[in-house]
């Protein structure tokens, strides 16, 4: 369990991390998401006591990092793959870390085997490719067999096979009851690995929610329609009480309706359809919208207070009709 309380970091006049409070729970993969420069790495460095917070605290199992006797046995971290001495062999790079924390020498060979670096264990790490460097960093995180694992952008530089491997590794580690905290700027990557999601933008907390809730709230599904009788179709859909949006490329998008409903509606009005397809806005788009306007979205500790996604259940503040009306004028 990692607990952050009001964690703040200023670099001169720039606020990198702004009163961040959240908990990372054991047994699940927690994704830490934010665009580049959102303060993810700074937050992780403060968690490991590498950067001193301007204010606020981080506690690992109730203790400050500096109070941990043999930290590698509590928490393993991959910060950046190049945090090794290139002139030293992979084996010796890990050995000196193991010795500092009384980890048995045999464990070095074990973790090298886990990450698949045994054949190059005696090679200098500066000759390693980016993916190999990443694997060496992961090996150093696993070295103390810790309860908490922290990975900063672990898929960077990995090939598809390596990405697949790290995903499965993280899931397996979480299943063993460990706390996994992994940062990324790719929503699509998180959707595949994380169970819980913490989103930050400009150093502020934007969301702290389960992945399932996030997907439910932010993935807008709609039906795309194209017809030579566009005007008639739009009126028919609108009369049926559904929200319709006319896009710039001449298609209609209908929220909250199934393809069956719309197909039957068109048949009823004898309207020719050229396209009738179910669409799903990607989580990537939802994430970009969320982080692009971090001023609009105020920090909240749960997903419950998140602004509702646009759709038929939107509040009745004239949200339904004006949604397509302005676009119609433009079309």
């Amino acid at each position: 369990m990692i607990e952050l309380e009001g964690l703040t970091k200023h670099f001169g006049s720039k606020v990198a991390v702004d009163h961040l409070s959240f908990k990372v729970r054991p047994g699940v993969v927690t994704g830490f998401l934010g665009p580049n420069g959102a303060g993810k790495s700074t937050t992780m460095r403060m968690m490991l006591d590498l950067d001193n917070p301007t204010s606020g605290t981080v506690r690992i199992d109730g203790r400050h990092y500096r109070e941990l006797e043999e930290p590698l046995k509590y928490i393993g971290a991959l910060l950046d793959a190049k945090a090794m001495h290139g002139g030293r062999s992979a084996y010796n790079n890990l050995l000196c870390l193991a010795q500092a924390n009384r980890i048995p020498r045999s464990r070095v060979a074990e973790v090298l085997d886990v990450v698949g670096l045994t054949p190059v264990a005696r090679k200098k790490s500066k000759g390693f490719s980016m993916g190999m460097g990443q694997r060496l960093g992961i090996a150093s995180a696993l070295l103390g067999d810790p309860e908490i694992l922290m990975f900063d952008e672990p898929v960077n530089g990995l090939d598809p096979e390596g990405i697949h491997w790290i995903r499965n590794l993280m899931k397996a580690l979480a299943q063993e009851g460990r706390t996994i905290f992994v940062s990324s700027h790719l929503m699509s990557e998180m959707a595949l690995t994380a169970d819980h999601l913490i989103v930050i933008g400009q150093g502020k907390l934007l969301a702290d929610t389960s992945m399932a809730d996030f997907i439910q709230q932010n993935s807008r599904s709609y039906v795309r329609l194209r017809s030579p009788q566009q005007e008639e179709l739009r009126d028919a859909v609108h009369r049926a009480g559904m929200t319709v949006v006319e896009t710039d490329n001449g298609t209609l998008e209908v929220d909250g309706a199934s393809t069956e409903q719309l197909g039957e509606l068109a048949a009823e009005h004898r309207i020719v359809l050229h396209e009738l397809s179910a669409q799903r806005a990607s989580l990537e788009e939802a994430f970009m919208q969320m982080t692009a306007g971090s001023v609009e979205y105020h920090a909240h500790s749960t997903g419950a207070g998140a602004p509702p996604p646009p759709g038929p259940e939107a509040p009745p503040s004239g949200h339904g009709a004006p949604q397509w009306a302005p676009r119609k004028e433009g079309a």
Binding site: P26, G27, R45, L48, D49, L50, D51, N52, Y65, R66, L68, E69, E70, P71, L72, K73, Y74, I75, A77, L79, D80, K82, A83, M84, H85, G86, G87, R88, S89, N92, N93, L95, C96, L97, Q99, A100, N101, R102, I103, P104, R107, E110, V111, V114, S140, L142, G144, D145, P146, E147, N168, L169, A172, L173, E176, G177, R178
Partner: protein
Amino acid sequence: MTTPYQQPGSYASPIPVRGASLGDALLSEWTKIRSVRSTMWTLGVMIVLMLGIGLGVAALVSAAGESAGLGDSSALGMGFFGVLPGSICVMTLGVLTIASEYSTGMIRTTLTACPSRGRVLAAKAAVFFLLVLTITTLVAGLVAVIQNAMVEAVEPTGDEWLRASVGVGLYTASLGLLSLAVGAMIRHSAGAITTMIGVMLLPLVAAMFMFSESLQDLQKFLLEWAIPSQLIGIYGEAASGGSSGPLGWEPVWIMLGLSVVALGGAYATMSSRDV
């Protein structure tokens, strides 16, 4: 597929936590210093310089025979000529021991493994100091024995023998420690090495050009207290040409004191700065 330690439920590692001590940090730093090539290079070059120059000088003096004019000084003072360039290698290694961690990013890994800045610095300093002290003492002692055998001069006293070996070893290792502290504060290998070479050579070079009458006191001070002057002072008054600066064991304690103060500064900066 991950580790052989799979357990259901909340995870408990089978590796026991026993509380690492300074001893573990020392072992870790020993692994680090012996597993990089720069250690072998700098110390190897130092040994070659001390032996090569020391024996070369002894051979020249020996060839000159009676006319060498060593007077009442022993042969040991000739060791200085090899130790002086050798100490530059030690300074380089001292800087690299810590600054290379900053340039490679290794320091972040080191400090996550051992968050106590004091322990990391103490372990690095101790391992480096003991390694350099052992090697320079042995090599300087060996050179002294050979020089004494090659050149006909006054038989050195016991204290002279001790200063020419252990004294030189202590002084060189302390100078390296000072470099290590400077490396920790500057965190940049090239910058720290340049700084240390400047500290070593500039006072003498500047003093050479102080022709003005009013600068004579300063010139005298620089000539007698510069690092090379202190180093030759260890060999005694006769070897240093009648200097009134630090002589005998004095330079050793001065440099040791300086390095301890600098390490204090390094600790203060390491504790307060972000990595």
